[in-house]
Symmetry: C2
Subunit: 64 residues, 2 copies
DNA sequence: CCTCTTTGTAAAATATACTTGACATAAAGT
DNA sequence: ACTTTATGTCAAGTATATTTTACAAAGAGG
């Protein structure tokens, strides 16, 4: 399923997928795939994304 | 660096690495490596571990 | 002692996260 | 019209997460 919380948090900071990808050191396609929900990123990448967006793991990646 | 919060949470529930590994569907070595801090598990595995131990991502995997 | 459980560790193989390069589309600006 | 930016998607390759098999050491209990 899509990760809309991530998409929203990125939008709230007005960052493109490309810019966020550069900030965390991965390719744009990786960010796109995570938002699309295709796969299963590593925890270190999730943490880097959270830091870039000023959120925590629970806020962006925890599934109730 | 070691993940001592994970080790402590597992100890608090009196689970061996093997039993936790079975609960979340990975090998014992994978749990051992995560506690040892060798590597970088996927987010879905982290979530499964959190569920098994009654913790959240922030409690076990967030780095301040 | 002996056995069983737990943990630590290692090497080789397999599955999959992630990259690179590319193409398509839609929206915004000139 | 043309260009630029943002997003979506795909296929082939590379890096690495995870498995399997195996061995060693320490502690608990019989």
């Amino acid at each position: 399923m899509k990760n809309l919380r991530l998409k929203a948090a990125r939008a709230a900071r007005d960052l493109s997928q490309q810019v966020l990808a550069d900030m965390v050191g991965v390719s744009r396609q990786t960010i796109n795939a995570i938002e699309k929900g295709d796969y299963n990123p590593t925890i270190n990448l999730c943490i880097a994304i959270c830091r870039a967006l000023g959120k925590t793991l629970d806020e962006l990646f925890w599934k109730q």
